[in-house]
């Protein structure tokens, strides 16, 4: 018969089965610090997206706004499921708003540097 352990903690529920002589342990996900150190790409891309959005909005630079959209997309694609989706979404919306605002202020097309 399965018995709940004395700790009865949600994350570390241990069920002891005396007849079969083994314990059933719950899954303990890795700490957030470990996961961020494994793959820092989504965090860096999120930060870059914010910076490019600000540059596009404040300095009215169109290519910055477009880069912000790309960075936020890359951050979304590489994000982990455990992360808060609202942050990624807000970053994406900010980059879209940067593009829209720059074109409203100056509808002229982008010119290449060459």
């Amino acid at each position: 018969m399965e018995e709940a352990s004395s700790s009865n903690h949600v994350e570390e529920e241990v069920i002891t089965n005396r007849h079969k002589n083994y314990t059933v342990n719950r899954y303990k996900p890795k700490a957030e610090e470990a996961t961020t150190s494994d793959d820092p790409v989504p965090d860096y891309m999120n930060l870059l997206a914010m910076i490019f959005s600000m540059c596009g909005l404040m300095l009215k630079i169109k290519w910055c706004a477009w880069c912000a959209v790309f960075c936020s997309l890359i951050s979304f694609a590489n994000s982990r499921s455990s992360e808060d989706g609202r942050q990624v979404l807000s970053s994406f919306m900010l980059s879209i708003s940067a593009v829209v605002m720059t074109y409203l202020q100056n509808p002229a097309p982008m010119t290449p540097p060459w």
Partner: protein, 480 residues
Amino acid sequence: MKLWVFVLILLLTTFGVNGDNRNQHGAEIEDNEFAEFEDFDEDVVELASEGDLPDKEEPQEVADDFQDLDEEDEDAVVETEEDEFESLDPDEFEGLPGDDTIWENENKKTKKQKKSSEPELKIADVPLHLRSWDKYYIEFLMGAGLLVYVVNFFIGRAKNNSIASTWLKSHVDHLNKQFELVGDDPSNKKAASTHQFVKESEHLYTLWCSGRTCCEGMLVELKLLKRQDLISVISDRLKPAVDQVVITTTLTSMDPFVFCVGTKKSVANLHKNMQDVNSFCVEKSRGGEKYGLSSKLFVLSELFGELPNAILDNAVRKVLNENEGVFDSLLISDQFSGPLLTDQQEPTAKFPEAEKIISLTLNIPSENKERKIPNLLNLLKMALYLTDKVKKHRLSRENKMKTDKHRQEAMLKLMKQTHAQRQEAAQLKKEEKARALKDKMMNEEDPEKQRRMDEQIHRRELNKKNKKMMKGRQFKVKAM
């Protein structure tokens, strides 16, 4: 040409009529400048008066000439004194306001004519963005790039999903036989088998299995390529990478040793990056052919001798040789504590928490995945076989003493490294204690008790000072 002739005639007539020395600006002109003209006129008069007979004809001829001239130049204008200054060199006054020279008059006339002849055209102000879409080619390119990225995201995600589901289909039956709990969702309050991967991200899937003898649990991690990210796809094309399956079994107990076998690159990587392998596997790696394995594989162990032969028995060797292309590395360790600390990270005062694990890393073939993934089942079975074997394996007395010694040395090394940290921590503790005692003394209401506590503190401080002085004297004596 006609203009020039007309001007010349004007000049001549004005100088002939007016003998004044004034010009348009009122500047005085010397008589000598026009002396020639005056003398000439007098000579003409004298010549006319000297001879009558012959002169009678001449004045008549002259008069006729003049009449002819008059007849010819009926249009000639006799300039008055007011026009005299205008007949001067027009170049001096060209372009100046009030310049009423002939050229300016002509220009003004032509301009007026032009203005009157040209119709006034009104060009409608069309906004820039409605003029032509051709100029927005960069924006179209950006939009196309975004679209391509989004399409690649969905395709890559679907592909990774299919790889994970293919692996699960081929392995879940065996896992159900071996474990009570197959697939655990941490968000669930109760432990119930989900038989599904937990999606950590679009390229990372995990499956936790527990409820088996000899092990606390087994974690299967599918570390796939980032197919959902277009930039990663491009970088993977440039620098080839493979999908990996990492099967990590956590043991309940085992004898103390660290052992690993794998390809040359993976063994070197383990030695460089893993704390336990770096600390305990000091000796150089040996070729796999010595242990009946392929020459591409290398063995790195804390103890060479009986241990590799005990681990790599016939069954294990057979499976490894059959799946040479898929096998990457195998690590068995009782001191697994994760990756090596980098220079930026400081070592903690405490010894890192060590786990007893068996970690098997496999490379999923890049081609014909659906056919080749089920072949990985043999390697999963080998991992579970090794779990039972390692749990039961006992080191010889000599080997056990060696490994215990290694662990003690590692502990001492860590203590030395963290000595300064621990000293600082101890100092802080002492200061905290003294501060607490002083606060207690200050807050004491009873003056007698307060005095006694103050004396106690004072005595302690004196004792400390004396001890320091005694130590100093001892060192001096020793030095002498």
